[in-house]
């Protein structure tokens, strides 16, 4: 509401809808849509998840005060381009569960034009993934000019997401496929950057983003392979 002057005719408070939880169920980490980012970062399951990398991402989002009121559903559903969390969740193999449209992978949800629905929960596959989140910002307390997240499981299945381009994050599928049969991370990072479209906004130019994208992806790959 603070990001636009849009008039809202009817708002429904979901605070007491029972969508406020973090739990592990059927090898999935499930987070209710009305759970605040603050509650998530204080949760012991999250603190231990993905070797503590997920919590680092959460703690890099804006301020403590905002995280105590921003819900994960409200963060994911608008598909905001500058979102760091969407980039990370894409790299972690996440499904979204919607009240009307059912369950679907996050990457599918990001491409769909679903407007009126409720994000019931997020289900993150509890695979043994190593995760790395990289971003470029002018200062810590700012939106990312570009962000990338890379993860890999024990079977060398890589997931690479690039966000804040400034469009919303998407998976670098060509680079992910390349890494199935190759181990040249320099080349993979280049492929990832080349398959994405970049644009300009007040934070940075298209050209700048094109230049830093392969660097951030390479750093992520190096980190998960360490």
């Amino acid at each position: 509401m603070r990001l636009s002057s849009r008039k809202i005719d009817l708002a429904i408070d979901l605070q007491d809808a029972g969508l406020n939880y973090v739990k592990i169920e059927s090898d999935e980490l499930k987070i209710g849509g009305a759970t605040t980012l603050g509650e998530i970062e204080r949760n012991e399951i999250i603190k231990a998840a993905f070797n503590g990398e997920l919590i680092k991402t959460l703690q890099a989002i804006w301020s403590v005060q905002l995280r105590n009121i921003a819900t994960i559903g409200g963060t994911i559903f608008p598909r905001l381009g500058f979102s760091d969390l969407i980039t990370v969740l894409l790299a972690l193999n996440t499904d979204v569960v919607l009240y009307n449209n059912g369950r679907m992978p996050l990457e599918v949800f990001l491409e769909e034009k679903i407007r009126k629905d409720i994000l019931v929960e997020l289900a993150i596959k509890k695979e043994n993934r190593k995760l790395s989140f990289q971003y470029m910002r002018n200062s810590f307390y700012d939106f990312s000019i570009l962000n990338t997240a890379v993860s890999v499981d024990e079977n060398k299945d890589f997931r690479i997401a690039i966000g804040a381009r400034p469009a919303v994050a998407s998976l670098a599928k060509k680079a992910m496929n390349y890494l199935k049969e190759n181990d040249n991370i320099e080349e993979a990072a280049k492929i990832a950057a080349e398959e994405m479209t970049f644009g300009s906004n007040i934070k940075g130019s298209k050209e700048y983003r094109e230049m830093i994208a392969p660097v951030l992806v390479r750093r992520g790959l190096e980190e998960v392979l360490r």
């Binding site: 603070r2 809202i8 708002a11 204080r42 301020s63 005060q65 009121i69 307390y141």
Partner: protein
């Protein structure tokens, strides 16, 4: 519409408009320590505690605060922790115009309850959302470190 707010341990029934934000309601009720700065969820001068956790009152719809406990600086007047934090700020000359002080003090107060032995880096990350228009961050950090050292 009517909501129930417990402000500084006093339960109050408050008439609000559905589109009103908590910041405007608190100021209308004369809790003038809660400042209106950027009004876009960035500067942190509107920080209050909701159920003990720091939140930006400019971005909380008053209706969604129904039934919750709100703490402003006025409610900490006799709290020894409040006195210790404000004394540390005073001793280090960390108050210039004072506009950001209520929000900063409330966030330091919440940080003390949440983090046991924060490092300087932890403090900076926790307080990143409290902007000071006088750019007095150096004396502020000196004061906050001093407060934590004394209390440790």
């Amino acid at each position: 519409m009517k909501i129930i707010l417990t402000i500084n341990n006093v339960k109050r029934e408050v008439e609000i408009s559905p589109s009103e934000f908590l910041l405007d309601v608190l100021r209308r009720l004369d809790y003038m320590s809660v400042k209106k700065g950027c009004d876009t969820g960035t500067c942190g001068v509107c920080t209050v505690l909701m159920d003990g956790k720091p939140v930006l009152s400019c971005s909380v719809l008053a209706a969604s605060a129904d039934g919750h406990e709100i703490t402003t600086i006025e409610g900490l007047e006799n709290d020894p922790e409040f006195k210790a934090i404000s004394n540390a700020l005073l001793e280090e000359g960390a108050d210039q115009c004072g506009f950001c002080s209520p929000g900063l003090i409330l966030n330091v107060y919440a940080m003390k309850k949440e983090l046991k032995n924060p490092s300087e880096e932890d403090m900076k990350k926790y307080l990143v959302g409290n902007l000071c228009r006088c750019t007095g961050y150096v004396p502020q950090m000196r004061a906050i470190k001093k407060y934590f050292e004394v209390k440790a």
